[in-house]
Symmetry: C2
Subunit: 351 residues, 2 copies
Amino acid sequence: MNHKVTLKDVAKEAGVSTQTVSRVINNHPDVSEATRQRIKAIVSKLGYSPNIIARSLIQGKTHTLGIVGFGLEYYGSSSLLMGIESKASELGYSVLLTLLNELDDPRMDQILNHLVSQQVDGLIWTVPARKNEEDILSEKIRNTSFPVIILNKDAAPGDNLVNLDNRYGGRLATQHLLDQGYQKIGIITGPPTWWESEERVEGWKETLGLAQNDPGTERLMVHGSWTSQSGEEALNELLAKSPDIDAVFVCNDQMSLGAYRAAHKLGKRIPEDLGLVGFDDIQEAGYFSPPLTTVHQNRRDLGALAVTRVMELIRDPKKNKLPDQNVSWIIPSLVVRESSIRQKKEKNSIS
Amino acid sequence: MNHKVTLKDVAKEAGVSTQTVSRVINNHPDVSEATRQRIKAIVSKLGYSPNIIARSLIQGKTHTLGIVGFGLEYYGSSSLLMGIESKASELGYSVLLTLLNELDDPRMDQILNHLVSQQVDGLIWTVPARKNEEDILSEKIRNTSFPVIILNKDAAPGDNLVNLDNRYGGRLATQHLLDQGYQKIGIITGPPTWWESEERVEGWKETLGLAQNDPGTERLMVHGSWTSQSGEEALNELLAKSPDIDAVFVCNDQMSLGAYRAAHKLGKRIPEDLGLVGFDDIQEAGYFSPPLTTVHQNRRDLGALAVTRVMELIRDPKKNKLPDQNVSWIIPSLVVRESSIRQKKEKNSIS
DNA sequence: CTGTTAGCGCATTCAA
DNA sequence: TTGAATGCGCTAACAG
């Protein structure tokens, strides 16, 4: 199989024109059953498979989706990518993957240009939004020749978004801790520039009834950086400045694990002395000791939804580039385990 | 930007031939500096970016690498993918991603055909090998028109492989437990069909001096399925049939976490009563309690190496399709934490 | 230094 | 039901 087999080769072998072969390949009706079968046989004999590149050039469509993501190690982006790939593949689309390595990666223009060059039919942009970058992104994207779905970002005019309701997740977590009778609920956030983190914080604030500039907020809040190590440090810092905190909403599960260790070293029992709720529901969360109560997000669904939405825009370009924004939401849920349950224990606990 | 801008548009605007514009775009020398600048200005004014599809059709190269992977949730495949994407992008190559959802996915042919259609320049196949499928894969791949690198598989004639030395990792883990004075070392494996799991088991066997069909092996071994839950069940089963086991090599970190819980419920202290060593060095491993000793594998390097190797074959096709096999190895290392250290403790322990 | 000619592999006209 | 001509956007080879 040195020289790649082309339509012409098949046509010559079959003694017909290339058009006839083309019709067979694409299941067009106007071919006699006899020739159709004969050509099919030759196709598989020669091991011919059509050159998608050439087809794309004619049709102006590549059946390829560009995906721009961010490091797959930090959060549920792997399952998101699985959801995207799975749905795209189901719909007959290929996935062209680009990963940014740093959030302040200055390659935004370069990457968009490259995707234009690659002639992708649509794009899913799933880089964690940062407050200050959002508008630049929205503007660039308004000028692309293909539809773009952005994940997890504040809505701006012209945006097509698919978001997880992080704010609702923050409310779920905080309300649950209140319901369990915890009195003073702190928070360990992600990096303050991240939209997703800020939204979770907002949910926490809303539930506690903290005003936007409540001076008390600072005493209940410490910023982490998503890693277990930062979670450990953050809990130490938090309890140092507010020793009477009896529960913490930790904005992801990895930091929760660090918080477990900090609590352990301080002699604080979970959940008796300190209630903990995480966010993400990573696979390991149910096996922490005690098992972690956390906000579950179905990132596979999120990915699939993003693909569905971008497909709609590809099929019906009129829907794209509308001046108003269009946001779809995925709703998280709370998975209650032991790290936040002290209702039952209170009767038995001697302390 | 409704109608896509083409070379012709730029040429017309500049009053030159398409050829001249092409030369500017591709940084060919034979253009006067004056026209070069003028054309560059027009290019950016019009927002032109070249149609890679058309270029690929001519050159017979797409500068695209196909990556076929497997579910990103089970093991270090995310960091592997990051390593691949990062290196590919550094070398100017795009990444076309396909994920299999189940290991017995029957789409192997279909996927390979599709990648031929997509005209990828090379392929990295990183689906966990299963003993019985390996030969089929090797044979299919011998007939592709582009070079293929397979990850983590036994060598067959004609293969180009990049492997992590799982067997060596198994030896590292087991020898370390012996050095710590543990006497009877069990193992919790992955699914018995997985090559990577089997290799780790071999390393364990070799270090313990177990003969290939040693009847004692069965009493020291239980199969898991990589999940925390299976790890918990496996440790229970293992200690039920061999209560005198005092250390276990667990073939990945997630199962180790399950084993922690099982040990905890049985009242076994780690590392005093039971030494534990995992495999993978996931981010959380250092925050288990106690922190987990584990075999560290640098999957980013593994991915980068795979890209480097496939590039060599693309550049020098003579090296491809050689009858003999060609294997590159990445060597894992042991990260010693507390779950396996009882040397120092022995003096103090009263127990 | 610049333009002309030709063609990559295929699908979309149109004609037979 | 089939075939011939045309061109997608671009670059390689040549000519000027």
